[in-house]
């Protein structure tokens, strides 16, 4: 479904990714692990077209997307839920969600999508008239994920969805992620919360200093003690 082949990404003169390759098959949950600044976010943003790879190829559903603009990539069925959430603060929850269905394809089915999102996160239905900036961190995260789902993605990428959430919320969040996955959406997850994300993932990639240093099946990585070292960046 998504195949990234040896991409190199620079921030100005600074190289952030070195020959990074990874793959997500249809129906999989794939995790990116690694410490802060290891390159997970850069890799995800490059796939979404927010950053450009200077070399390498990105193939999504038989289309090369490494030279496409973000809005075309979203239209193909690839959504990103950013770490910063990037909601529209002075718009209501409902407006935030509706704008998520921006592409023609998603706009046509936005009523069903909205019901789907409300089913996953019933809280959002209750506060649908509230302005986004008035919500708690956990609720904002739900809006961000809901907005990503409104685009009808085939692959949903999530960057640190559990960051800054109360532990109780984290459990709910991962339940929701599993539900989204069961409904046929493939998921790419970049998480600091290693144990919980490995538990729901099929395979994982470990990033360090802009390179993929380890990859494998999640069950194998769970037993691997190097993973903790790699994750902590020691």
């Amino acid at each position: 479904m998504l195949k990234v082949d040896k991409i190199n990404v620079f921030y100005g003169l600074l190289q952030a990714l070195w020959n990074v390759s990874f793959e997500v098959q249809k129906g999989e949950i794939v995790s990116f692990l690694g410490s802060n600044g290891a390159g997970k976010t850069t890799a995800i943003k490059t796939v979404q077209g927010m950053l450009r790879a200077s070399s390498g190829e990105i193939l999504f559903m038989d289309t090369f997307i490494d030279r496409l603009d973000s809005h075309n990539i979203v239209g193909l069925g690839l959504s990103l839920v950013a770490e910063e959430r990037l909601l529209f603060p002075s718009m209501s929850v409902l407006e935030n969600l509706e704008l998520g269905a921006y592409s023609q394809r998603a706009r046509a089915v936005r009523r069903q999508s909205l019901e789907w999102v409300y089913g996953l996160f019933p809280v959002l239905k209750k506060c649908s008239r509230q302005k986004a900036y008035t919500l708690s961190g956990g609720e904002q995260q739900m809006v961000a994920i809901g907005r990503g789902l409104m685009a009808k993605p085939k692959l949903l990428m999530m960057d640190e969805p559990s960051l800054g959430l109360a532990p109780l919320f984290v459990g709910q969040l991962f339940k929701a992620i599993e539900m989204i996955h069961k409904q046929g959406v493939s998921i790419l997850l970049a998480e600091q919360n290693v144990s919980i994300s490995l538990r729901i993932s099929k395979k994982a990639y470990v990033f360090e200093n802009g390179r993929v240093i380890l990859k494998g099946r999640a069950v194998d990585l769970l037993q691997n003690e190097n993973i903790e070292k790699a994750y902590l960046g020691l």
């Binding site: 603009d69 950013a82 909601l87 529209f88």
Partner: protein
Amino acid sequence: MASQFFQVVVGGILLGGIYGFAAFGLSITFGVLNILNLTHGDFLMLGSLVGYGIFLHFGINPFIIAIIIIPLFVVIGVGFYLLLLKPISGKPPNQLLVASVLITLGASIVIEDLTSFFWPHPITGIDYSLPSLELYGVVISETRLFILLFLLILAVSIQLYLQKTYMGKSIRAITQCRGGAKLIGIPISRISALTFGLGVAIAASAGVFYITLFTVTPVIGIPLTVKYMSIVVLGGLGSLTGSVIGGIILGIAESLTAYWFGAQWSPAVSFILLISILMIKPEGLLGRQR
């Protein structure tokens, strides 16, 4: 005495309506594109002149001219954006602002000089007036009253457009969170071009009313732009209501200053208001803390 005071205040409100409407055009351009368009006042001036030309040759009612001029100037604005501003749109925000000031300042000078070349004389306005109205001793120009009413309708339509349509929502989304807008697949450069066109068209439309009330010369552009910038800061960025309220406050303040201290002091008022609001509430009256 009291009735004279009210007379001045009412005049200020009517003037402020035009100010606020024109300023909103500047406000959305700045909010969506992150650029400062110093040609805004020049497009108002061009709108006045084109409106004047249409009035002279076809004798169409200025209220209708103010509407038919909108699509024309949307096209001109989009062309201006694609030609001069799109090439710099990829720059980081701080460089973009400086680059846009330089480009639009240059364009403004070119527009002013070209216009002076073709229109050497100041144009004293469309001769269009309706009888005045007297209410509790306050004389209100009916022309101004209708203009205000008309602007109100236009402003409400624009507000509805921004609230209800996908295009309007995209404009607000980009103003509120550029990164988020890009993330969900809003085509930023297309919306930017259209927004610029809309901003220019609002200026031109306001210009048609401007010339029914004031004398227009080719060099009014920059002073007007500065005035509208003060209003945008006063009212808060990207808020139509804020711009209208800011415009009305400035309109009243200018009229009262002219009444009490003399007309030569009224241009200073916009700067005094600008500085005070920056000291007291930098995000503007209706702006949200960023």
